[in-house]
Symmetry: C2
């Protein structure tokens, strides 16, 4: 009997078999008892048949994984991780409310702030939210490419911290605890609301936004609108963070750029959509954010030749 | 002796061997004695050696043409047509002021309004300005493809009309006289300032701007800023014209889009640059026009992979 098996290993259910769901499944199953819940029976079968593959530094790693269709989820794991796209979230949470039979905690992996009002529908005592910096790409139904190792930040949305501390010790998968979830999400929102739409619209890598003086000027103009809407204090600190992320990830193509290229829906509603809603509530004019929003929404609708 | 030769045929000098210069040279030489003035000796030699080729409806038409290097221009023709790009214009007009020995009239073919202040430097009595709708593409130094037959509108910027009326009778090259040059240029400016940057930025054909509701909303927001700056009356009439042009030329790729694709400089300074200057003079806020300007300027600077 291995040492691990003698302990009470935490059970985790991960809802969503996209790139982020597969990535978390792979790394968390090093330490925990993970089940992936997929939308389709096909993906479940592929995962059970082939195992879960992770490509990292040009090597393929393979492991057996438990998989189920989401229909069978009932919340029996101690922790349920929601790894679906923002625009699928309302539907999933409605299903969760219906299906949940056991007392599970939730961890949400969505970007932006748009999901906060949806979380309120859940009656779970402890809910975590997070921000991600990983670069991950799903190559097929059972293979995820981990091409950018980044931090996962985790914070309590409500309840008390109750995860095993080993979750902070997974190699190549650093997880950090943040004390203020709102500050954490706002920080990430500001960064995403500027870098994602601009890189997607202009079809450029992150670094170009700060290397090109015209694009940098637009980035700052967008930032000023956002800072007004979010009523940010010490605002230039936030903008410096945008610049830092562009520089540190200068060779990366943003998730929104990749989504447009792949003709997927983007997360624009969770990001700029949230800003525009807040702006409307507060009656603040945001002409540039509105324009960017329409550019991305319109681009989602394009049939490219 | 042909009938034509018995008359006093107007001499025309055309400065610029780009697509527009070659197009005008081809059609005007049906009726007039045309000399093209090129920047390079190489292009002059190619034109003299091969003749001027025009591709239209998949047929190649060929004619002999006079060509000279621009250095030898001195204004001896009755009419000098300036067919260089907006951003080359200041330099060319400085040269013209130095080189001009004879009393020639000028016709400017540039888009936008940016050239109006440059025209004031010339001491010629009669100056024409114009707007073009042709689709033309220079395939090589002596060949132009005429892939969209449109109107040329012509108006007096100053002086009296003194062109032979035959200029309005050239087949496949309709030229129309407009009485109010300012109105004519403003009309075209509004259309260009919206269609050109949006299509270039979004990499779409003209029609998409009105077919896509998000893009149409941006187009209208840009229009509102421009209408404020230009103090337009009956403003929705102008916007209707933008829509009409998008619909009539729905399959066309705008000149600015083509310029960006070919990594050429665009005419953004003559178009949105003019609007931004006026806005600054009048202290009117134009956040969206500024953003579009920076997007295009920044894109001109990009090294695409």
């Amino acid at each position: 009997m291995k040492e691990n098996e003698s302990r009470d290993i935490m059970k985790i259910g991960i809802i969503g078999g996209g790139s982020v769901g597969l990535l978390f499944s792979y790394y968390l199953s090093d330490l925990f008892d993970v089940t992936i819940y997929t939308r389709t029976k096909n993906q479940k079968d592929e995962l059970l048949h082939n195992g879960l593959h992770l490509i990292e530094s040009n090597k393929i790693h393979k492991k057996n994984i438990k998989a189920e269709v989401f229909d069978l989820w009932n919340g029996k794991e101690e922790l349920t991780i929601i790894a679906v796209k923002q625009y699928q979230l309302s539907e999933i949470v409605m299903q969760i409310v219906k299906k949940q039979k056991e007392n599970t905690n939730f961890l949400f992996l969505q970007n932006g702030m748009g999901h906060l009002k949806i979380l309120k529908l859940l009656n779970s005592e402890t809910i975590y939210v997070s921000t991600l910096e990983h670069g991950a790409y799903r190559k097929n139904l059972f293979t995820v490419e981990h091409n950018g190792i980044g931090q996962t930040k985790l914070a309590l949305y409500r309840g008390d911290f109750n995860l095993p501390s080993s979750i902070f010790t997974i190699p190549k998968f650093p997880i950090i605890f943040e004390t203020n979830y709102f500050e954490m999400l706002i920080n990430k929102l500001v960064v995403n609301a500027i870098i994602n739409p601009l890189t997607a619209l202009l079809n450029v890598k992150n670094g170009v936004i700060v290397e090109n003086e015209n694009f940098l000027r637009v980035a700052h103009a967008v930032f000023v609108e956002i800072a007004d809407v979010l009523n940010l204090e010490n605002r230039e600190r936030y903008f410096q963070q945008v610049i830092d992320v562009c520089q540190k990830t200068s060779e990366n193509r943003s998730s929104m750029l990749k989504d447009l290229e792949a003709k997927n829906l983007t997360e624009i509603d969770a990001i700029l959509g949230y800003i525009l809603n807040e702006a409307e509530l507060k009656k603040i004019e945001t002409p540039i954010c509105k324009t960017l929003y329409d550019f991305i929404k319109g681009s989602e609708r394009l049939e490219r030749n």
